[in-house]
């Protein structure tokens, strides 16, 4: 922590004095993207495209802010807490040292969660496999995030760059069965760009490594607790939990990702066309941390994301993006055998079979109009958006197959009014969105050999976590009306600009019980946040 503090101070000391004649506080990252749509791209070499802007800003731009975000309400996913409060500290900076372009960020956030359950993993939606308990309880998590990128021009046309990201964190549940998760993410991306006249092209490739260690513990041994092995689509195997050193559940999750990206830009000054393509190929493995080779399951996914935008001057922007994700979950056929050399029982692999599939696609399009004289002198702006998504999931133990599918359509509208009073700038942004799900099936059970074999549950255990399945599906397919209001105030001080952002919003979801379509409940959730920051 001490080393991190020193690095932030060094970074801040590199910033040059405030530019003369124009306030840095007039700029935000959102406004700067109109000058360089590739500013926050995954390709760090595109920082060079902000050269003119950085000169205007005196060679550097830093945004330091701290805030609190609170969410509460009944409209939530199965693993969302009933309420949460998030305290955040964030600093982000761009600077130029001679020919070298640098960017860096440091973030710290601490979240208090109330009545959270099914959080066997920090991000349960990323994998179909999870070891978890179902009892709601308070939890908290704490993360440190570091990012550093550097870009170096090689002559007039080429730029090379590298981007490093590191995240470390912990999450802990405060009620039996209580899990302690320790996380580490590391990402490394070299990049290259080429500029010739109005054309700019860039490629990037990288690796990401995510590691999560999960340990379960039971403090109160006077009551029975159950732990669930989830295998996809909330199918599960439950067993009673006994806490001792030898039986305590310790799970690891390791994800290795291979990243690639390409981008193309045509920029005549008045017309900017941008196209980006990103690929994320991930292999996820879960197992026990004991040295016995037990494997819980693998999940392989491929995410392809393409986006394009067409910008006319500072007033018009048309954007569209399409993403497609395909995933496959695998279980291992293992048998515990005595190793004659070490006299230790080990799990030996014999086969791996595909049991889970997940396909998701999403299309978004939006149009933004701004009444703007310059990057920082804007009267008002409005954005209208449209989106659609499609998802299919299936879990199969042939001949038994469980399927789920749904589609969503959404529309959104936001409006921003900019007001300028001497040293005080005000932005007011009301927004609204509506999402609906025209059709879908929560859980279809198919016997693919019906004439030959009948399928029944064994014992009294359910093999699907029905409550979680219904809550998740109800949340994802609800008709949702959301509305929000954002107020941003900024004031120029002697050497910096101070700003504050107040956000308030809410969702109202009309959730249908798929087992009884006539049963529709209205659930709500609200959020509010306060952020105070400095720009210099």
């Amino acid at each position: 922590m001490k080393a991190l503090k020193i690095n932030i101070i060094v970074l801040l000391m590199c910033c040059s004095a405030a530019l003369s004649g124009q306030s840095k506080g007039d700029y935000t990252f959102e406004k700067m993207e109109w000058q360089n749509p590739l500013l926050q791209s995954s390709n760090a070499a595109f920082m060079r495209l902000s050269d003119t802007l950085l000169t205007t800003l005196g060679g550097s731009f830093t945004d330091l802010n701290a805030g609190v975000l609170h969410k509460a309400g009944s409209f939530r996913n199965a693993y969302d807490p009933k309420s949460s409060t998030d305290a955040v500290l964030d600093v982000k900076s761009y600077t130029r040292l001679g020919k070298l372009y640098l960017s860096g960020s440091f973030g710290y956030d601490y979240t208090w969660m109330r009545q959270a359950r099914l959080l066997g993993l920090n991000e349960p939606a990323r994998s179909p496999f999870m070891l978890t308990d179902t009892i709601p309880g308070n939890a908290s998590d704490e993360f440190y995030r570091l990012q550093a990128a550097a870009a170096l021009p090689l002559g007039e046309k080429f730029t090379i760059a590298t981007d490093l990201r590191y995240t470390a964190g912990m999450m802990a549940k405060k009620k039996d069965l209580r899990n302690l998760n320790t996380l580490m993410n590391f990402e490394f991306r070299p990049a290259l760009s080429y500029t010739a006249g109005p054309f700019t092209a860039g490629v990037t490739a990288g690796i990401r490594r995510r590691t999560e260690l999960i340990e379960y513990k039971q403090i109160d041994s006077s009551t029975e607790k159950y732990i669930f092995e989830i295998s996809g689509l909330w199918t599960c195997n439950a067993q009673g939990y006994s806490d001792s050193e030898s039986t305590r559940s310790k799970r690891y999750k390791q994800t290795a990702s291979y990243l690639a990206g390409a981008a193309l830009q045509y920029n005549t000054g008045n017309l900017v066309w941008t196209a980006q393509f990103d690929m994320d190929r991930s292999n996820d493995k879960q197992g026990e941390t004991k040295y016995n080779n037990f494997k819980a399951g693998d999940y392989e996914s491929l995410l392809l994301n393409g986006s394009t935008s067409l910008q006319f001057g500072l007033k018009h922007r048309l954007s569209a993006s399409y993403s497609n994700e395909k995933g496959a979950g695998y279980k291992y056929l293992q048998r515990q055998e005595l190793d004659p050399a070490s006299m230790v029982r080990q799990w030996v692999d014999y086969a791996r079979y595909n049991c889970y599939s997940d396909r998701y696609s999403n299309l978004d399009a939006s149009y933004t109009f701004r009444q703007a004289e310059s990057l920082t002198s804007i009267s008002w702006g409005a954005t209208a958006g449209f989106g659609m998504s499609d998802r299919e999931r299936a879990y199969t133990e042939y001949p038994q197959r469980f399927c789920q599918d749904y589609r969503t359509l959404s529309a959104s509208l936001s409006f921003t009014k900019y007001l300028y009073f001497n040293n005080l700038n005000i932005e007011i942004t009301p927004s609204a969105a509506y999402t609906t799900s025209p059709d879908g099936t929560m859980f279809d059970t198919v016997n693919e050999d019906e004439g030959h074999i009948s399928i029944t549950s064994s014992g009294t255990k359910e093999f699907v976590l029905t409550s979680a399945l219904r809550q998740e599906y109800g949340y994802l397919t609800a008709d949702v009306l959301s509305a929000g209001l954002k107020l941003r105030l900024s004031r120029q001080l002697e050497k910096a600009t101070i700003y504050g952002v107040i956000n308030a919003g809410g969702w109202a979801g009309s959730v249908t019980d798929c087992t009884d379509p006539s049963s529709v409940t209205l659930q709500k959730r609200g959020c509010s946040s306060l952020t105070i920051g400095f720009i210099f």
Binding site: E224, Y258, L333, Y353, N354, C355, D449, H452, T460, K461
Partner: protein
């Protein structure tokens, strides 16, 4: 430049393809009568009546089907790990079963014990169940807790019952658990053999041959510690009413109330207490064919090292035909490789409640006959027992 770009893109896309296909595997099951089956018995059992249940060990659901008149059936399943049980019970009391424990089926065949892949065929021989007179009616192995919440295992017991129609004698009846102490997933080196190893200590009901009769419908409770646990454990069992206690003065962890006869520890093993697993014991009640004295007098015949070893721990063995009754208790379906032969227990049973729950497994009632209760006894614990019930030992005191 263009060609290189095209090749790079193609290579990237090919390398990143996600395979998403369900692999199916063929399985053929062939069930036959054992050699020497009497004609009358073979004619009483129709192989088509056998109910084949294949348990998926990944998720708690079963596949059910029936073979043809020749006892054969062929099907397609997904690759996975399964247990198979085939059983039939007739109203006359005649029953038959057979099983295959934890086999791994891949698209290429069934994984054998030595790790090689064999043909996807299961050849199974029926066990014609012979109802026994002396059965285990109730087994309490999970343990409970003290009023303060600590784990407590001294209140456990085994209850024997005369399910027959005539008086039997308990003298020289032996009680033990089968090795390994806990159920596992994986291979059992002693599987398929005619003798099975005892795990640790073995106990015998004493007597001169006619000292301890048990009448039809009567129980006999064998207590781990035959004392009153009413104030010690949440189970509130008074084991000072038991018929016998597992007690030896050399075992510091065992207790016995005054007036209760002690079982005789005929195989000492090691430790200060009898190891009755709280997770998954395989309990057997047996009587050596030529008597206990003759059995113990010949360690060269009955005491052996583990298969494939020539040093280390030696285990006393018993012939599977000596077993009067036995129960295979598994911890979970994922850890249920069989220790008892299928002729003793075709399947296994497991508790859904957590350890130290204070709950027991108890035999299903079949109905009254001749004024006494008869219990279900098809040599298939999955069918014969109910799990996770409150203890209800039938005391004689």
């Amino acid at each position: 430049m263009k060609r290189i770009f095209a090749i790079l893109v193609s290579a990237m896309l090919l390398a990143s393809c996600i395979e998403d296909s369900i692999e199916k595997a063929s399985l053929k099951i062939r069930i036959s009568f054992p050699e020497g089956t009497e004609q009358a018995v073979a004619e009483s059992i129709s192989l088509e009546d056998l109910n084949i249940t294949i348990s998926n060990k990944s998720l708690p659901f079963n596949y059910s089907c029936h073979p043809d008149e020749n006892g054969e059936i062929e099907m397609e399943l997904g690759c996975g790990k399964y247990d198979l049980l085939a059983s039939v019970e007739y109203e006359s009391g005649l029953s038959a079963n057979t099983s295959a424990s934890e086999f791994i089926l891949t698209s290429e065949g069934i994984i054998q014990d030595d790790g090689t892949t064999g043909a996807p065929v299961l050849d199974l021989t029926l066990n014609i169940a012979k109802p026994a007179s002396i059965i285990i009616r109730e087994l309490y192995y999970h343990g409970s807790s003290t009023p303060e919440g600590a784990n407590y295992t001294n209140d456990r017991y085994i209850e024997l019952y005369n399910n027959g129609a005539v008086r039997e004698y308990l003298d020289s009846l032996c009680v033990c658990t089968i090795y390994p102490h806990n159920s596992t997933s994986g291979n059992n080196p002693w599987a398929g053999r005619d003798t099975i190893p005892i795990a640790g200590m073995c106990w015998m009901i004493p007597g001169n041959g006619t000292q301890y009769p048990i009448e039809p419908g009567q129980s006999c409770v064998l207590a781990f510690c035959a004392v009153d646990h009413t104030n010690r454990a949440t189970s509130r069992l008074d084991m000072s009413r038991a018929d016998f206690g597992f007690y030896d003065p050399l075992l510091s962890k065992h207790e016995i109330a005054a007036g209760i006869p002690a079982l005789t520890r005929i195989i000492a093993a090691q430790g200060t207490a009898w190891t009755l697993s709280i997770h998954s014991p395989a309990v057997a009640v047996f009587r050596p064919e030529h008597g206990v004295a003759a059995y113990l007098a010949d360690p060269s015949l009955w005491e052996r090292y583990e298969i494939g070893k020539t040093s280390g721990t030696k285990y006393w063995h018993i012939a599977k035909d000596w077993i009067v009754d036995g129960i295979e208790c598994a911890d979970t379906p994922q850890k249920s490789v069989k220790r008892l032969p299928t002729s003793v227990d075709a399947s296994y049973i497991y508790m859904e409640s957590a350890h130290y729950s204070g709950k027991v497994i108890t035999r299903r009632e079949k109905g009254m006959a001749g004024g006494v209760m008869k219990y279900k006894d098809t040599n298939n614990s999955a069918e014969d027992f109910i799990t996770d019930v409150a203890p209800n030992p039938h005391f004689n005191r």
